[in-house]
């Protein structure tokens, strides 16, 4: 990128030269065509069978999880869920290109990345049932996962806040001499937040090895992308901030994998952020709290269903002889049973003891929190029937 600061020589012109429609038309990298064939002239990433199978498994895993958990929410077993159906290639393909030492800071629709890292069904369930086995101690709504051993930062609901944080985290990794990057996921809607502009600009100026991965899935709840921004997507902004940028077909897992690997190499070699815009589509509703039929057409959904990232990858795997359809159908059945079994176990695990309500606000509870906890416990002890979840712990 050319830095045109106040010290730079800038060419002059005697023409009133208003630039319209951007400077470049940013294409998107594609390796697999929507039919699952290798695009002519594309380089297939060097990918081992084991990695390819693991990616495929993670993509299927989250689709099964999504189906089950949306159903569980409908049954009233959990309060909320948020599916990533249609975006499995973006989240899994990018995570597969990372090292386990790389920090993942996600928005909330990246369970594919988490599953790829090795988060177990039991862990997913404990988080979603807010029980005492959840390392986040049941303090957040379902889908706000976080796991330090897997280098997966605990999710926060406010949109975009993780973007400047990723710049800072990556700067810290660099200062500590770690051979690691931070990947930061967000949607095209979140990219309208001030934190996006603050974070990407800071990462560029301060040379932070961070990958900003935008899932441009067409919708921010009900607001379509055309009502979100007028420019050439999110990628054009990377260019504006002096950040190496590429756009990728987000439903093509091989392209996402290849793009992210390249971004990681560049980030480490040059201490630079890289912006990736993955063009994809949220086949699911935003969350279990909305119904997409109110804001988009069946035809549009069907058109995107035909670009299903799982079907596309499956065809490529078949061609390689790495996919056995009957065996896989059996595997998916087992998976569905496992999810259901763990769900039933997790919903029976009690919530944390009431003492936890004041823990982790500070490193140790100060006097006022101790006082409030004691008053609360005395109150619960007086009306145990009204507080059945915790009354047992205050006798």
């Amino acid at each position: 990128m050319i830095s045109r600061n106040h010290l730079a020589d800038i060419k002059t012109t005697n023409q009133v030269n208003i630039i319209r429609n951007g400077i470049v038309d940013i294409p998107m990298l594609q390796v697999l065509s929507p039919d699952g064939d290798i695009v002519s002239g594309a380089t297939v990433p060097d990918i081992q069978e084991e990695t390819a199978r693991k990616m495929f498994d993670a993509m299927h895993y989250v689709r099964v999880l999504d189906e089950r958990m949306v159903a569980a929410q409908r049954q009233g077993r959990i309060s909320f869920y948020l599916a990533c159906t249609g975006e499995e290639a973006s989240t899994v393909g990018s995570a597969a290109a990372l090292s386990d030492n790389d920090m993942i800071m996600s928005q909330y629709r990246e369970q594919g990345a988490l599953a790829f890292r090795g988060y177990t069904t039991k862990q997913f369930m404990n988080q979603m049932f807010s029980n005492k086995a959840d390392p986040n101690k049941g303090r957040q709504m379902p889908i706000h996962y976080g796991d330090k051993p897997l280098n997966f930062m605990t999710i926060s609901s406010p949109l975009g806040t993780q973007i400047p944080q990723a710049a800072g985290y990556a700067y810290g990794q660099k200062m500590a001499g770690k051979e690691a990057v931070t990947i930061c996921y967000f949607g095209e809607g979140a990219a309208s937040e001030g934190d996006f502009h603050a974070g990407v600009n800071m990462a560029a100026v301060l040379n932070c090895p961070a990958i900003f991965f935008c899932r441009n899935n067409g919708y921010a709840i009900s607001t379509p992308a055309e009502e979100q921004f007028a420019g050439d997507g999110i990628a054009s902004r990377g260019i504006g901030y002096g950040v190496p940028t590429l756009r990728v077909d987000g439903n093509d897992v091989l392209a996402v994998y290849q793009a992210t690997r390249k971004a990681r190499e560049l980030a480490l070699a040059e201490n630079t952020p890289v912006l990736i815009e993955a063009m994809t589509y949220r086949l699911a509703a935003h969350s279990t709290s909305d119904d997409p039929t109110g804001y988009r057409s069946k035809e549009e959904e069907e058109a995107w269903s035909k670009k299903d990232p799982i079907a596309r990858f499956e065809k490529w795997l078949s061609g390689k002889g790495w996919y056995d359809a009957p065996a896989y159908a059996k595997h998916l059945d087992t998976l569905r049973q496992e999810v259901l079994a763990e769900l039933k176990l997790a919903e029976k695990v009690p919530v944390c003891d009431i003492d936890e309500i004041v823990e982790d606000v500070y490193d140790t509870p100060p006097w006022h929190l101790q006082e409030q906890r004691d008053q609360l416990k005395a109150h619960i002890a007086k009306y145990p029937g009204e507080y059945p979840k915790t009354a047992g712990g205050v006798k």
Binding site: N136, T161, Q165, M175, A176, D195, A198, N201, D360
Partner: protein
Amino acid sequence: MTQMNLLQAINNALITAMTEDEKVMVFGEDVGHFGGVFRATSNLQEKFGKARCFNTPLTEQGIIGFANGLASQGSVPVAEIQFGDYIFPAFDQIVNETAKFRYRSGGQFSCGTLTIRTPYGGGIAGGHYHSQSPEAFFAHVPGMKIVIPRNPYQAKGLLLASIRDDNPVLFMEPKKLYRASVSEVPDEDYELPLGKADIVQEGKDITLLAWGAQVDIIKKAADMALEDGVSCEIIDLRSILPWDRATVCESVMRTGRLLINHEAPLTGGFASEIAASVQEQCFLYLEAPIARVCGLDTPYPLAHEKEYMPDELKTYEAIKRTMNY
């Protein structure tokens, strides 16, 4: 011991912290080579290099977001917000992120190493965008600590304690005193306790409570009251959150009267919280209603700065009213 003003004491504390721990990093708008608009970070970049003391782009939400990321990674960020009046773009990062990081992750991740330094308060002809005292906004945020020093000795000891404390601290510096307040400051490393008030002067008739630059104001009022034979106990609260209720209440139980002075507007100011707690704890010991001498419920005015300020005369009058209730 060296004679230092408050800025030099802060600079000295930063040098001490950065020398001791290479994970300490200092950054914000203009804090690099220039040393900050008030020069609190003078020479740090020369001493410790550009990687550990640096300018940031002009974005408060970015500075605190970046600092949160650094803190959660294990570094020790000391982020400067150039004026307390400009902290509000970072309000979301502080309220929803800094303060909740540890809680929401069940203690897996935290921003405990973060210290946010910011100058606050009036008395410099700064009008309403260079004079505000926003401590009460942050006092409503579980997870934050808020610390305010009253002189150079306090500033060094409290800042070092804030940087090393395993909780995020908002360290608010009374900018009126930056060059005006000079005192002996130990050259060696020392810390003063967070969450602990300081009894500046003992007295028996009324307790006067303030923090930052207003401690000098209540001292002046106490001297005036002494001429009338009123003995004032003076307490510097030092930490707004968590605040030292025990020391304040113990004093009020002895004197039977309390006056709280702060620069920020009256309504919803931190004096309200103190008054509510003290009446709850000391109801039967109170000889008079708790007095609040505060800023007006207006934006901070420029031409009428003197009239706005809760100065020693207003404090003196309030002492008399409380004594004669």
